[in-house]
């Protein structure tokens, strides 16, 4: 069978609905008799709750109920630990302190929910928040992650001895021995600060308890509807079959919309059951800054040991990870950092140790990249500094150390977020680097263009980095595929969708197997009533895990279809082909039967069904990878710094991506563009600024700068393809890759542009102000 769709630039099936305003998002759900919820949030980062008086709020006309922690009964308990600690690592310390639905006794971050109001309108609900009187006894806030680990730091969770949330050390080889052999050791301290996910759609939940049917429907902006269904059923005392969770069109996920079970996601459905009325809560933008999870804050003390010819002998990285006030996502982020701080390199000896600190700030969970940008920042920065000290070319030192193609599968040994020693399945890392070198014109720029431009007084610099991205982790996804009697194909899968083009890329896989037009494949994602089993869309796993489940189910439906057609057409299966919505005898195209007709025959109204067969042309199948597929790539950029304003113009940006088999280049390149744009934000514009009291100072889109159209450069995107051997499609994930290397890339390019200042960029994000500060006191070298 000739593959028609997979690999092609197919236009998206879902676009017409989105372009005409007809796509359903959670906030578009409007139900009769609906109540509205609003949450009273803490003004203090750290305070004891002396009393919460809601009596005036309860008396406000239009208010149906106001609840505090005391009113929640058995519902009040800490939320689920979404990812456990990695039991496979020896001597791991992990203190589970997950968030509670409403704060009791004390508050631990600004924005923590203290009370919830249910009212006839959002206006009334918000007005009632002002009626609530909270008596706080302020405590010393613990804002800085290093300060948090001081012996005399105030305790955030007073039942613990310290603010240490977790501690984990891993070693590959023997770093100390390697260090003794080294010709050069570079060691530096690196800072990575917090940013927001910043989806354009804020979070939201609409819940509708049907008392007569004893059934709860929840529309939720979640990336993981099935885990939400399972969790809510447990918390609310319902069976999974009494709860339907729908993640309709979701306006961007980027991590924090995963199965979080924060206050709102639990209390809105619960409220609907209390009042037997639908309830809606839509987050406003300020709440999105204060009460949606964030990421990236880490401090690294790292060093690299090398030979004089630039071979890496070992890396040592001791770091602190800021988890905020609670730790519902376990150690996923620091584990990703640990598995990425060797970069794409063949590092024989590695020691990595992390302390996770509780702080009085919003909870940290993965944001697009999820610990990987920090790891890559450390690896790439150390290598740049070493290259400079050794007088070796940046590209040369990278080529020397990349994992060579013959070493795959490469045992990386470090236990990662999948709780097993990471194995890099496949790749040819040098191809991506070489392509980036060529596309950016590295040699010409360094030799000719840069000296020429510098002579004109322009501060231009080039950056070039390589990276890996672990993707496509298990456990599994599933799909059910049905040939309808209309001849069209229905596909249901459990993952949610937030703009990744699943309606198209998944349809392409099915269309190829069943020989139909891609527009005749109708896909449902993110509705637990349509598919019962699954996990969700995160960790760059949709195009790996869900896509391969869909592939498996499509192969099974194809087999059923051929078997039945063989009987009907009285022709051996080998002589049949599926094309244009029909099964044909290959040599005699007129001898054919449509898929719709076959679907009717597969579900007869009379006669006997043979034992051992199932009705319908339908199959359900699952895919669980043995381990995750690891993507890789290289990026290069040329920047110009304006020394008057410290504004930076990205003149060129090259991305070379190897995500294995590309299902739809149009979609993959779109993922790259968006990831890079976030990476640019993480490098120069986006920083969540907390003051010493734990107050977020820039909780609006006017003050927190998400790149706009003028900040994002044109990109040249190239591909290399080394298919993953771990799945039949050969795919690897691509969702987060764009964002991962940009801070490291940007830092190198800025240093190069400001080479006359001998600047070392050891932190991200920078900003024009911060760059100005860094240059103060730097003697300009001649």
């Amino acid at each position: 069978m000739a593959e028609k769709y997979v690999g092609q630039r197919i236009k998206r099936n879902e676009d017409p609905r989105l372009l005409t305003g007809r796509a359903l998002f959670v906030d578009d759900v409007e139900l009769h008799g609906m109540l509205h919820a609003a949450f009273l949030r803490s003004d203090y980062a750290h305070a004891r709750l002396v009393s919460v008086d809601v009596s005036a709020a309860r008396n406000r006309p239009g208010v149906v109920a106001v609840y505090t922690a005391e009113d929640l009964g058995d519902l009040w308990k800490p939320g689920p630990l979404l990812v456990p600690a990695p039991h496979s690592v020896e001597n791991v310390v992990f203190h589970q302190r997950t968030q509670v639905p409403l704060a009791k006794d004390k508050v631990r971050y600004v924005g923590e929910a203290i009370a919830v109001v249910f009212a006839e309108s959002r206006y009334i609900a918000e007005d009632a928040l002002a009626d609530i009187w909270v008596d706080y006894e302020p405590l010393e806030p613990v804002v800085d992650m290093e300060r948090a680990l001081d012996a005399d730091a105030p305790l955030i969770h007073e039942d613990l001895d310290s603010n240490l949330c977790a501690h984990l050390a891993q070693e590959k080889g023997d770093y100390q021995a390697a260090r003794e052999q080294a010709d050069l050791i570079v060691s530096r301290r690196f800072l990575v600060d917090r940013g927001a996910a910043g989806a354009m759609e804020n979070r939201g939940v609409v819940a509708d308890w049907d008392e007569k049917a004893q059934h709860l429907t929840v529309w939720d902006t979640t990336q993981a509807p099935i885990p939400i269904r399972n969790g809510l059923a447990g918390m609310l005392g319902l069976s999974a079959h009494q709860v339907r969770v729908v993640a309709p069109f979701v306006g961007g996920g980027f991590g924090p919309k995963i199965m979080m079970f924060l206050s709102e996601e639990v209390l809105v459905p619960w409220g609907s059951m209390q009042f037997k009325r639908p309830v809606k809560w839509i987050e406003d933008r300020q709440e999105n800054f204060l009460a949606t999870t964030q990421e990236r804050g880490q401090v690294h003390d790292a060093e690299m040991a090398l030979t004089s010819d630039g071979r890496i002998l070992g890396v040592r990285d001791v770091f602190i990870h800021d988890t905020g006030a609670y730790d519902p996502y376990g150690m996923t982020i620091p584990l990703n950092t640990q598995s990425h701080a060797m970069g794409a390199y063949d590092v024989p000896n590695y020691y990595t140790e992390v302390k996770v600190a509780f702080t009085n700030k919003m909870i940290v969970t993965p944001v697009r990249g999820a610990g990987r940008p920090q790891g890559i920042f450390v690896a790439e920065r150390l290598l740049d500094i070493a290259a400079k000290e050794l007088g070796i070319d940046r590209v040369g030192i990278r080529r020397r150390n990349l994992i060579p193609p013959e070493k795959f599968p490469y045992n990386h040994e470090i236990i990662d977020q999948a709780f097993a020693p990471l194995v890099l399945d496949s790749g040819n890392y040098r191809l991506a680097l070489d392509q980036a070198v060529k596309r950016i014109g590295y040699e010409e720029f360094i030799k000719d263009e840069q000296p020429r431009l510098r002579a004109e007084g322009k501060r231009v610099g080039l950056g070039i980095v390589v990276f890996i991205e672990t993707t496509g982790i298990g456990p599994y996804e599933g799909a059910r595929i049905t040939v309808e009697t209309s001849g069209k194909i229905s596909v249901a899968t459990g993952v949610g969708t937030q703009g990744q083009g699943h309606f198209t890329s998944f349809a392409q896989i099915v269309a190829d197997q069943l020989g139909v037009d891609v527009r005749d494949v109708h896909l449902v994602t993110g509705d637990t009533a349509e598919f019962h089993w699954g996990t969700g869309t995160f960790a760059s796993r949709g195009a790996v895990v869900a896509a391969n489940a869909i592939h498996a189910a499509a192969v099974a439906v194809r087999a059923k279809t051929l078997k039945l057609a063989s009987k009907v057409l009285e022709t051996p299966e080998e002589e049949l082909e599926l094309r244009d919505g029909e099964v044909r005898v290959a040599d005699i195209p007129r001898q054919s039967i449509g898929l719709g007709e076959l679907a009717v025959l597969a579900n007869p109204l009379r006669g006997a069904v043979e034992p051992g067969t199932e009705p319908g042309l339908e199959a359900t199948d699952y895919f669980g990878p043995q381990y995750g597929a690891t993507a890789n790539g290289a990026q290069a950029m040329i920047v110009e710094v304006d020394p008057e304003t410290m504004m930076i113009e990205i003149k060129r940006h090259v991305v070379v991506e190897d995500c294995g088999t590309v299902l739809n280049p149009l979609i993959v390149e779109g993922q790259v563009h968006g990831g890079v744009a976030l990476g640019i934000g993480n490098s120069y514009y986006e920083k969540l600024v907390y003051d010493e009291n734990g107050q977020l100072l820039n909780a609006s889109l006017a003050d927190y700068l998400i790149p706009s159209a003028t900040e994002v450069p044109r990109m040249e995107v190239g591909h290399e393809v080394t298919p993953s051997p771990l799945n039949p499609l050969g795919s690897k994930g691509a969702g987060e890759a764009g964002a991962i290397p940009v801070p490291a890339l940007f830092a190198q390019a800025i240093e190069d542009a400001l080479a006359d200042y001998d600047l070392e960029v050891l932190e991200t994000p920078l900003s024009p102000n911060r760059l100005f500060e860094l240059l103060q006191g730097k003697e300009k070298a001649e």
Binding site: K11, R12, E14, D15, P16, L18, L19, T20, G21, R22, A23, F25, D27, D28, E30, G198, A199, M200, E201, N202, F249, V250, G251, G252, F254, I282, D284, R285, Q498, G499, Q500, G501, L666, I667, G670, H673, G674, V676, A677, L678, S700, L701, A702, I706, P707, S708, A709, T710, V712, R714, M715
Partner: protein
């Protein structure tokens, strides 16, 4: 309460609205035109952009009463006779949509740009879209789609 007459996507609407109701809420909650999105309610993200007498405005910062006697165009009013407009087609062709939440505002802003400047440069497009944030696409294809729609219009009928 105020009685107002607003022409929305060509149809006259006779409404009674409270004085503090925004145009955004009027569209979404009274007229059930939910294509216009609420991203920040502070005029910072542009998801709620609509045309008021042909000019793009943040409907979250515009009161419903301000629309009295005026023409409002929303994303639902851009398709012509059930057919996607050339601009919408260009968004499909160039894959300028990912999650689609910013898309209605983007389309409306771009529509207004092309109405006042049928042959914009890349920089003019970017500047016209500055008030519309997108987190998924990095804007490249949105800008490209607006350019493509402008080029197609010029090829079809000369600079209109």
């Amino acid at each position: 309460m105020h009685s107002i007459t607003v022409t929305v996507n060509g149809s006259p609407e006779y409404l009674t609205v409270p004085p503090n109701m925004t145009l955004l809420r009027m569209l979404r909650e009274v007229l059930a035109l939910t294509g216009t999105k609420n991203g920040c309610e502070a005029g910072e993200c542009g998801a709620c952009t609509v045309l008021l007498d042909g000019q793009p405005v943040n409907s979250c910062l515009t009161l419903a009463v301000e629309a009295d006697g005026r023409q409002v165009t929303t994303v639902e009013g851009l398709a012509e006779d059930g057919q996607l407009s050339a601009l919408q087609e260009a968004f499909v062709e160039l894959n300028a949509v990912q999650c689609g939440f910013c898309t209605p505002g983007m389309l409306v802003s771009a529509h207004a740009l092309l109405a006042r400047n049928p042959r914009p440069t890349e920089q003019e497009i970017k500047e016209a879209m500055l008030g519309n944030l997108c987190r998924c696409t990095g804007y490249l294809r949105i800008v490209g789609a607006v350019q493509a729609a402008a080029d197609a219009a010029a090829d079809a009928g000369g600079a209109a």
